[in-house]
């Protein structure tokens, strides 16, 4: 088992013939992900890598290839429109890798996705992987190994760093989910914590947060009330100056809220073991399991 994606995931790639889309589609196929269709307007009828049918619209792809998940690699200016199109076609799981979407676009995208009962992961995220089963997005498959730790993170390369520590020390992963670094995202920590808590293949959870917003504090409350599995947490940005956007659009300390110190305290008050540095993940997990 795993969360959100597994060996039965049938993936559509929006922007499959683009620079990033084609590169990562090949990587996903090599990993064993079932890529069943692609969409690039104007390239309908072609085959990607002589194998995957390409359609002009998501609706056509859905009617023919029956995907249950879609991943979006289109440029930022078109990405919100791509999410609307996927939602209109009723694809239950939509993963938006694209970075740089205006946050006001998300204020319109989110109600559209929600009222259709669909899930968006991202935008501005590395996607997710259930090692040994399926990979959707850009997380390098070779650093992961199947196992029983669930990983959820707002970051990309920092997540790889922590997965690398886990894999190197004998802790495989059930699923690793990058939820994205933007202020408005489709799937948050609580959604993932809840899914991992219910997943019989997950024994413990690693959550990687950062400065900005109060998602981690709310997640901590949720862990305290609803999560019985051990949780280990990390917060990036302890040395970040206030008022500056630290690369991720959502990583900014405004006023007194959103600081790393605040978040680390909230986590530890809720019984989450808090890492001081990425390398602490292994000793803390050993302590808790």
């Amino acid at each position: 088992m795993s969360i959100f994606i597994n060996k039965d995931t049938r993936l559509l790639v929006q922007g499959i013939t683009g620079r990033d889309g084609s590169f990562h589609s090949k990587q996903m196929m090599a990993y064993g992900t079932q890529v069943v269709a692609g969409v690039t307007p104007g390239k309908g009828g072609q085959r990607f890598e002589e194998k995957v049918p390409v359609f002009n619209t998501v609706a056509e792809a859905v009617a023919t290839a029956k995907p249950n998940t879609t991943v979006i690699y289109v440029p930022a200016a078109l990405a919100a429109s791509a999410v609307f199109e996927a939602a209109d076609a009723g694809i239950p799981l939509i993963i938006c890798i694209t970075e740089g979407l205006p946050v006001l676009d998300l204020t319109k995208v989110m109600p559209y996705v929600r009222e259709r009962g669909l899930r968006l992961i991202g935008p501005n995220c590395p996607g997710l992987i259930s090692p040994g089963q399926s990979k959707v997005g850009i997380i390098p498959g070779n650093i992961c190994t199947p196992g029983r730790i669930g990983v959820v993170s707002r970051s990309g390369t920092l997540t790889y760093e922590i997965i690398h520590q886990l894999t190197g020390n004998g802790f495989g992963q059930s699923s690793c989910v990058g939820i994205g670094g933007d202020p408005i995202i489709g799937t948050n920590f609580i959604d993932c914590l809840q899914a991992f808590e219910r997943d019989p293949a997950t024994d413990a959870i690693v959550m990687i947060g950062e400065i900005g917003g109060t998602d981690e504090q709310q997640a901590a409350e949720f862990v305290k009330a609803k999560v019985k599995k051990p949780v280990v947490g990390f917060i990036a940005g302890q040395t970040a100056p206030p008022g500056r956007r630290m690369g991720h659009a959502g990583a900014i300390i405004s006023g007194a809220s959103g600081t790393a110190a605040d978040k680390m305290k909230a986590l530890s008050d809720s019984g989450i073991s808090v890492m001081k540095r990425p390398a602490d993940v292994v000793p803390l997990l050993k302590e808790r399991m």
Binding site: A76, L104, P111, A260, R277
Partner: protein
């Protein structure tokens, strides 16, 4: 991107929000001319991206054009929180009957634009929010329908009893909502929103922060950027496609990915050092990006050691290694460098670096410890 007050004023006026006359000036002579045209007492306001302008002496009242010129000569060129005042806004001194606050933010929790109003205006709204949160009234707007008239009126009744003023304020709130989507603002606020002795509702000061991700589709707004209010190294980095924030420490950091870049800075601190910067070279790094990154880092005289921390995913370690070799042959380093590389094309990268006479490791903690020690070794 922050807009200056005078730029925000122009946008609000274009959208029909009532504001007093006024103009921006860069010289004392211009200030004098504007003061003469406006007549009566004027306020001269420094245009810098810093709070507390008044306390710093950047806002002054002048009774006549001559005094305006003389005060402007003091304000123009002065430093406020490290920023030089290049321009001042000149507006008539308003006769004020009451001061309120009206503002929109894009709220993470509700995932909507939230309108906030408070009768406690003219002061720092974050202070009001933390000390007397009950004085702030909020409404999450459904962007599919926009701010509806009755919603705006409902909030305006928290500010005024007089129904004529309520209607003026509600109309102004709807116009401010239009501004948010028109310019791609993540924050748009009027503080204070005032009433004049004859009962008119007017915006006296305006602040707009534009979402950086909107600048691509709003070139007119992007053109308002004032590069003089940023550190030159940050301007240079932005033009090179890098995310860079200058800090005060001695360990120059070059990392791929924002989260890892923050975690690297934190680890520098953990091992007793101080990071000199935040620098994210981004995902698909080509060697040129690394060259530009090294140029910016080495230009900082505080940097006593350089730390590379690369976890290859989309970023290929060999690209980074090639960048390091290119950069250091073009301009030899005068400070020690510690390199950590792992992930995609790690082996190729190690070969490139070894050939060029550099050593590199694969462990993040080891690299950070070494860089901190090197930085201290030189300082001592």
């Amino acid at each position: 991107m922050n807009l200056h007050e005078y730029q925000a004023r122009d946008i609000l006026r274009q959208h029909g929000i009532p504001m007093p006359e006024g103009a921006v000036a860069a010289t004392p002579a211009e200030v004098k001319a504007i003061a003469r045209q406006l007549g009566g007492t004027v306020v001269i306001k420094a245009q810098v991206h810093a709070g507390g302008r008044g306390k710093a002496g950047g806002v002054k009242l002048a009774k006549n054009p001559a005094e305006a010129e003389q005060l402007a000569s003091k304000i123009l060129g002065m430093q406020i929180k490290g920023l030089t005042v290049e321009k001042v806004l000149v507006v008539p001194a308003a006769d004020i009957a009451s001061e309120s606050y009206v503002g929109f933010i894009v709220d993470r929790a509700t995932q909507r634009p939230v309108l906030m109003v408070s009768a406690a205006g003219g002061v720092d709204i974050e202070e009001v929010a933390s000390l007397t949160p009950e004085k702030i009234h909020r409404l999450a707007v459904d962007p599919r329908y926009g701010l509806l008239p009755h919603q705006a009126q409902g909030l305006a009744f928290h500010l005024y009893q007089d129904v004529a003023q309520v209607r003026q304020a509600a109309d102004l709130m709807q116009k401010l909502y239009e501004v948010v989507y028109a310019v791609g603002a993540s924050l748009a606020e009027i503080n204070p929103l005032v009433t004049t002795p004859d009962g008119k509702v007017q915006a006296l000061d305006a602040k707009i922060v534009v979402d950086d991700n909107e600048l691509g589709r709003h070139p007119d707004i992007a053109a308002l950027r004032d590069a003089s209010s940023e550190a030159p190294s940050e301007v240079q980095a932005r033009e090179a496609g890098l995310t860079f924030i200058k800090l005060d420490g001695s360990v120059g950091c070059c990392v791929n990915g924002a989260g890892l870049a923050m975690a690297t800075m934190d680890l520098v601190k953990y091992y007793g050092g101080e990071p000199a910067n935040f620098l994210d070279i981004g995902g698909s790094s080509n060697p040129q990006k690394v060259v530009n990154a090294l140029k910016i880092i080495t230009a900082d005289p505080n940097v006593k050691a350089i730390l590379f921390n690369i976890f290859g995913g989309i970023t290929r370690c060999d690209d980074v290694a090639n960048g390091i070799v290119q950069a250091t042959s073009a301009f030899p380093l005068t400070v020690p460098m510690v390199i950590r590389l792992t992930g995609t094309n790690e082996k190729e990268a190690m070969e490139i670096l070894t050939k060029a006479g550099y050593s590199a490791g694969t462990d993040m903690d080891d690299a950070v410890k070494a860089a901190v020690a090197q930085a201290k070794g030189r300082a001592a």
